[in-house]
Amino acid sequence: MTPDVLFDVVIGVIGGAVRVGAPFLFVSLGECITEKAGRINLGLEGVLVFSAMAGFAGAYWSGSPWIGVLAAGASGALLALLHGLACSLTRVNDIAMGIAIMLLGAGLAFYLGKPLIQPQAPQIPSIFLGEWSTSPTVRAALSINALFPFGIVLAIVMAWAFANTRWGLVIRMVGDSADAARAQGTSVTAVRVAATVAGGFIAGLGGASLSLYYPGSWNEGLSSGQGLIAVALVIFARWRPLNCLWAALLFGGAGAIGPALQSAGIGGGYYLFAALPYALTLLILVVTCSPARTLKGAPMELGMSR
């Protein structure tokens, strides 16, 4: 591999990390806020698929990608509201409910999305950060989804808010000890439902980024499990919003490395590269999970640490 090709591959992977990582970022942030309040929403995979469809529909019928983005967020919030309300009932298991939401979201999206496979919708604009460069590779890698900077800001704001604002502390309290929250007079149910809905809205932005930016069309194979990976990312990121950002970029990059190497002529073992994101998850979980500090940072009310 010559230095030129290596440079192109590296730039390609960096660009790919942002392109492929955007949905991971939004879904993992959405899951992060939900889990901080002590609830798991596995249904975000369904939310992602459904909001991608709704976002595409909104942009297609209104002619504006931003209305599409809102439609995606709103539809994500709606599905999450269903999850939040159902889980507030006594003895409803949030994992089982999450799986039901996942199936419902995908099924509804496939059903309602039938007439949307063929059309093209207006796309979310790119932000060109690479204008200074003469290399088309660099320019392409640095034309960024306009939602992505918003995701970065959101991650920073969330990290700050969890530590420094009244609302952030309330969410964490509800997530860490429902009894303490009740004793203090906070409605656990209301906070959890609100957090779940907010999480659904944020995950919905990930759906918009799929169907309105990259790859930029509605198709039934669009998500292919990215929502589930993003839920796992939250555990990997130890429930820290800023870590979600790095994790999303890492997984985006891992997904981009296979095609980048193949197009540079290094074709061997592409099945291995295709499996890279999953192998990476396993590896990181094995390395970081020492018996001494199992799942440090996990909200105490989550089913897994209760």
């Binding site: 496939f110 194979g221 980048a260 193949q262």
Partner: protein, 370 residues
């Protein structure tokens, strides 16, 4: 003033008669019991691709009298296709099934066929072998590599960077054959051209396909083609990167009118008709149906506005030779991309040659590994 003479009269009645002969369907339908036919697709019916090509032909077949078509889409290549097939047989009374995806053949279709010896199975793309597979099964396919060769010819004329790209799903013989035909078509114009291949590993994986297209564009590829189930994402992404694109399966010209050069399209209705006809008249099941441009199994998309005059002329000339059966794509000497001779000098593998359906190499000029 023009008067009818006897010659004109004969000509007119002759034309009428020929017209009547050309419509055997309407006559057959009168004397035949209705038939229920099941069609199974691996993806959605309107994916601008493989499944749409099938669904378009089914829509045509449905118009014929006495035919009831049952369709099911999004059936994965797993146990569930066996359930779909058995369901169509037991519940809908289908006596002829068209499982259209490659992975349905072995073991799924063979398993259901063994249990239902009175039902006919026509699989698209599989390798039916005399003696190995039961008589009530069969396969049909088109030599779409002819279309990909013509894609390559046009790409060869239009590429400025001399690097062309192929986004492929899986390294199975049909896909390799398309990659090779595309490459040889382009190199017949300019032997300096290379084709870079990216395998995504799945038939439909939109994010991977977009990523493959982007990374190929990063490497300077300026003309794309593909072999995935839904070419929409590749076409749109290539157009966004200001690259040109040759279509596959169906016409994607609408998606990127400026970037679209030409395309290799299926035309399944003739194959369907032959198989359905045999089923209705009680003739033996056609186990092995193949055809290319000449037989009307495939067609090419109309040239896009940017295609140069020279490219059109050259491609049209080769197409005419294909139509007359005088053109062989796989004529020796052909080397693979490791330098090994795969078809010896002077040897010719005709389109019907079964060796071509077992292809396991990439020809010289392709950058990639199987």
């Amino acid at each position: 003033m023009y008067m009818w003479n006897r010659r004109d009269w004969l000509r007119a009645t002759g034309a009428l008669g020929a017209g009547a002969l050309a419509l055997p369907w309407s006559r057959l339908a009168l004397g035949q019991a209705p038939i229920t036919i099941g069609f199974i697709y691996v993806g959605p019916r309107d994916d601008f691709g493989y499944n749409q090509a099938h669904a378009e032909a089914v829509a045509e077949i449905k118009k014929l009298p006495g035919i009831k078509a049952v369709e099911e889409e999004n059936v994965p290549e797993t146990q569930s296709v066996q359930k779909s097939m058995q369901g169509m047989i037991s519940q809908d009374g289908a006596t002829l099934l068209f499982p259209t995806s490659f992975g349905y053949f072995d073991p799924h279709m063979l398993a259901v066929a063994a249990k239902n010896s009175n039902v006919r199975f026509a699989h698209c793309g599989g390798m039916w072998t005399e003696g190995k597979h039961p008589k009530n099964t069969g396969s049909f396919f088109g030599y779409i590599d002819e279309g990909q060769y013509l894609n390559g010819v046009v790409a060869g004329h239009m590429s400025k960077s001399k690097k062309i790209g192929f986004v492929a799903a899986k390294p199975i013989p049909q896909v390799l054959r398309n990659i090779n035909a595309f490459t040889m078509g382009a190199r017949s114009v300019d032997p300096k051209i290379t084709t870079s291949v990216v395998f995504t590993g799945e038939w439909s994986m939109p994010v991977k396909e977009a990523e493959a297209t982007n990374s190929l564009a990063d490497q300077g590829v300026d003309v794309f083609t593909m072999h995935v189930d839904g070419p929409k994402v590749v076409v749109e992404t290539a157009a966004k990167r200001n690259a040109m694109v040759c279509g596959y399966h169906a016409s994607q010209a609408k998606l990127a009118p400026k970037a679209y050069l030409t395309g290799a399209e299926w035309n399944w209705s003739s194959a369907y008709r032959a198989i359905i006809d045999a089923a209705r008249t009680g003739k033996p099941h056609p186990n092995f149906v193949r055809g290319g441009l000449k037989e009307g199994f495939i067609k090419t998309s109309a040239y896009g506005p940017s295609v140069s005059e020279a490219a059109r002329k050259n491609a049209d000339a080769i197409k005419a030779r294909m139509m007359s059966g005088k053109f062989d794509i796989f004529a020796g000497e052909i080397k693979d991309n490791t330098g090994k001779v795969v078809i010896a000098k002077g040897a010719v593998q005709k389109q019907t040659d079964l060796e071509l359906e077992k292809m396991g190499y990439l020809v010289e000029g392709v950058i990639g590994k199987v």
